[in-house]
C-alpha cells in the first residue's frame, strides 16, 4: 500500500502546486506523519486504529479524523445506493416479466433496445452528455452544494436526480435481462402448463408461479450487481460533485492519502460482503425448499 511514499509529502508541502522544499523540511514532515517507519509498523498502526474504533486514525493530508470523514460521506452514498436499488427493483422486475411474457413482440424489443446500451455504455460519458444537454437546452445545471434531504429537500432532489437516474438505468438493465431470461426458463416448466390448464389468469401465473420460482437467481444478481453499483457511485459522485464515499475514495487516491484510501476501501468491501451474506440468508424466505444444512453441497453441483 505504501510502496511509493514520496508523493504525499510533496503534495502537502506544495499545496498541489510545484513548489520545491528543502530536504530537511520533507524529512521532518515524513517523520511527523510516521511515513519513515517500517511498512509493517505503519500497517499495524492503521489496523489497530481500525479495530479500536478510530476508523484508521487521521487523514494524512489535513489531519481530520477519518471517523468524521466517514460519518459525513457515508449517508450520501447510502442514500444514493438506496434510491437506486429501490427504484431499480420497482422498475426492472415488472419490465423483465413483461419482456418475457411478450417474447419477440414489440414490448420485448423495446426493453432490449433500452437495456443493452444501459449495460454497455460508459456511465461517465452519458453523465457528461446529460450535463451538456441540460446546460445547452434548458440553461440549467444542478446545484453545486450538496445538502442532506432533512436540510433542504428540493436542493437534495435536484442534485441527486440525474446520478440516480443514470445508476438506475445501468443497474436495472442487468436485472431486467436476468429476470427476463429466468422467467423464460421457468415458463417452459410443466407446472406452468398445469396452472394454465387449471384456467388461472396469465397475470396470476406470471406473478405467483413464474416470478416466484425465478426469484432466487434474480436476488443473487441484485447482490452481485451491487459491486458494479458501487463502482458506478465512485464515478458519478466524482462527476456530479456529491460528497460521498466513492468520490472521497477517488479524491484520497489522487493525493495518495493512504490511511483514508485503506479505510474507505475496507469499509466498501465490508459493506458489499455483508450485503451478500444477508442476501444468502434471505434465500430461505424466498424459496422454502432451500435448507442451509445441505446447501453447500447442493449449490455446488447446481452451478
Amino acid at each position: 500500500m505504501r510502496i511509493l511514499p514520496g508523493d504525499i509529502v510533496s503534495w502537502i508541502l506544495s499545496g498541489g502546486g510545484e513548489a520545491i522544499h528543502s530536504a530537511e523540511v520533507r524529512e521532518a514532515l515524513r517523520q511527523e506523519l510516521g511515513l519513515n517507519d517500517h511498512l509493517v509498523v505503519q500497517y499495524g498502526r492503521w489496523l489497530w486504529r481500525m479495530i479500536n474504533g478510530e476508523f484508521g486514525g487521521r487523514s494524512l493530508v489535513n489531519g481530520q479524523p477519518i471517523a468524521s470523514i466517514v460519518a459525513r460521506q457515508f449517508p450520501v452514498t447510502l442514500l444514493l445506493v438506496a434510491y437506486t436499488v429501490i427504484l431499480s427493483i420497482i422498475i426492472s422486475i415488472p419490465l423483465g416479466v413483461l419482456a418475457a411474457s411478450r417474447r419477440n413482440q414489440w414490448q420485448d424489443f423495446l426493453v432490449r433496445l433500452i437495456t443493452i446500451p444501459g449495460q454497455a455504455l460508459p456511465n461517465f460519458w452519458s453523465a457528461l452528455l446529460i450535463l451538456l444537454g441540460l446546460v445547452i437546452i434548458f440553461r440549467w445545471s444542478p446545484p453545486i452544494v450538496y445538502t442532506n434531504p432533512w436540510e433542504d429537500l428540493w436542493n437534495h432532489f435536484q442534485i441527486v436526480l440525474w446520478p440516480v437516474l443514470l445508476l438506475v438505468w445501468e443497474h436495472s438493465s442487468h436485472i431486467v435481462r436476468v429476470t427476463r431470461a429466468y422467467v423464460l426458463v421457468v415458463i417452459q416448466e410443466n407446472y406452468i402448463l398445469s396452472a394454465r390448464a387449471k384456467g388461472l389468469s396469465q397475470r396470476h401465473i406470471l406473478s405467483r408461479h413464474a416470478l416466484r420460482n425465478a426469484l432466487v437467481p434474480i436476488v443473487t444478481m441484485l447482490g452481485l450487481q451491487l459491486g458494479w453499483l458501487l463502482s458506478g457511485t465512485l464515478i458519478l459522485e466524482t462527476i456530479f460533485g456529491l460528497p460521498g464515499l466513492g468520490g472521497g475514495l477517488v479524491q484520497a487516491a489522487l493525493v495518495r492519502d493512504y490511511t483514508v484510501v485503506q479505510t474507505l476501501a475496507t469499509l466498501l468491501v465490508f459493506a458489499m460482503l455483508s450485503v451478500n451474506l444477508i442476501i444468502d440468508l434471505t434465500y430461505k424466505i424466498i424459496d422454502p425448499r432451500i435448507s442451509f444444512a445441505n446447501q453447500l453441497t447442493h449449490h455446488h453441483n447446481g452451478s
Binding site: N104, L113, A120, G227, I235, A253, A265, M272
Partner: protein, 325 residues
C-alpha cells in the same frame, strides 16, 4: 481389454463429432460461393459487429500511420479549433489534434482491454478447469475464494491497486484482469463440470491418461469456444473500466492520450469546445457496444444454453437465425 479399446475408439469419435458440430456451424455460415452473403443472412450481428471490431483493432494497430498529427506535441497557436479539413475532430486546449488523439487513445484502450482480458481469461480458465477437474475440498475452497472476489467492488479494488503500485498501463491491466478472473473461473468451471462427465473423458481416464493431458486434450477444446465468446464480451467491460480509471485520473498517465482521460480534460471546455469530449465519447461507446454485441453473437453460437439471456439485440436478426440454425 479389447472391449475397452473398442469402446475408447467409439468414444473418441463421439468427441470428434462433438467438436465438429461447432466447427460445422461456423464453416457452414462462411464457406460456399456466397459465403459472406449467407453469413449476413444467418447471423448478421456476427458479421456487422465483427467488421466494426476488426476495424477498431486495425485502427489501433496502424494508429501511427492513420493519425495526421502527433497526438502529444502541443501547438498553442491552434488551440480550441472547431472541426475542419485540417483538424477533422477539432483541436483541444493545447492545440493537439483531437482526431489523432482519439485514434491513439483507442489504441491504448484496445491494447489494455485485450491484454487484461487475455490475462484474466487464461488465469480464470486454469483455476476454473482445475477446480472442476479436482472436485471435492479443493473445489470448495477455490469456489469460496472466487465468490469473495466476485463480491468485491471491482473499481474499488482497481483504485487501491493503482494507489499502491502507481498509475501505469500495466497496473491497469492487472487491476482489470483480477476483476475478471472470478467470472471466467466460474464460467469455465461450470462448462468443465458437464464435459467432465462425458463418456469420452471417462474413457480417457480409464486408459490411464495423465490429468494434464485429459484437461488439455479432452476438456479444454470443448470449453474453449464458450470462453472465447464470453471473452469478447469482457473486452467491452474492460474498455469501459479502463476509460473509467483514466477518467478518474488513475489510469494511463497524462501526456499519452486515453479516451477516458480526454473526456476528463475536455470537461472543462465542454461549453466552448464540445468536440473535445464528444468524439472520444462516441468512439468509446461504439467500441464498447460493438465488442459487447459481438460477444452476444458469439455466445449465441457457442453457448446455446444461455439462449434466453442472449436473445439478440436486433429483432430481425433473432428470427432469421433461430429458424435456420
Amino acid at each position: 481389454m479389447i472391449d475397452t479399446i473398442i469402446e475408447v475408439i467409439d468414444m473418441s469419435d463421439v468427441e470428434n463429432s462433438f467438436r465438429m458440430i461447432v466447427r460445422l456451424k461456423i464453416l457452414h455460415m462462411i464457406e460456399g460461393k456466397k459465403g459472406l452473403r449467407r453469413l449476413a443472412k444467418m447471423n448478421p450481428s456476427l458479421l456487422l459487429f465483427g467488421t466494426i471490431v476488426a476495424a477498431i483493432i486495425c485502427l489501433a494497430i496502424f494508429a501511427d500511420f492513420i493519425s495526421p498529427h502527433n497526438p502529444i506535441v502541443q501547438d498553442i497557436s491552434s488551440r480550441l479549433k472547431a472541426p475542419s479539413q485540417e483538424f477533422l475532430f477539432g483541436s483541444d486546449n493545447f492545440g493537439r489534434d483531437v482526431f489523432s488523439r482519439v485514434i491513439h487513445g483507442s489504441r491504448s484502450s484496445v491494447y489494455i482491454a485485450i491484454s487484461s482480458v487475455t490475462v484474466g481469461t487464461i488465469l480464470g480458465t486454469i483455476i476454473g478447469t482445475f477446480s472442476a477437474y479436482q472436485g471435492g475440498r479443493i473445489d470448495l475452497v477455490l469456489q469460496r475464494v472466487m465468490d469473495t472476489l466476485l463480491g468485491f467492488p471491482s473499481l474499488v479494488l482497481a483504485v487501491v491497486l493503482v494507489v499502491s503500485l502507481g498509475a501505469s498501463s500495466d497496473v491497469v491491466i492487472i487491476a482489470i484482469a483480477v476483476a475478471l478472473i472470478p467470472q471466467v473461473a466460474r464460467l469455465s468451471r461450470s462448462h468443465s463440470l458437464s464435459i467432465k462427465e462425458e463418456d469420452f473423458v471417462i474413457a480417457a481416464r480409464t486408459i490411464g491418461a495423465q490429468p494434464l493431458s485429459v484437461i488439455f486434450k479432452h476438456i479444454l477444446p470443448h470449453t474453449f469456444g464458450p470462453i472465447v465468446a464470453y471473452a469478447a464480451g469482457y473486452v467491452s467491460v474492460a474498455i469501459v473500466a479502463e476509460s473509467a480509471l483514466s477518467f478518474l485520473g488513475l489510469g494511463v498517465p497524462p501526456p499519452y492520450p486515453s479516451l477516458g482521460g480526454m473526456l476528463q480534460e475536455g470537461r472543462l471546455y465542454i461549453e466552448v469546445a464540445p468536440w473535445i469530449t464528444i468524439f472520444p465519447g462516441i468512439i468509446l461507446s461504439v467500441s464498447a457496444l460493438s465488442f459487447a454485441l459481438l460477444g452476444d453473437a458469439l455466445r449465441d453460437i457457442f453457448d446455446p444454453r444461455d439462449r434466453f439471456y442472449n436473445d439478440s439485440f436486433f429483432p430481425w436478426i433473432n428470427r432469421s437465425n433461430r429458424k435456420k440454425m
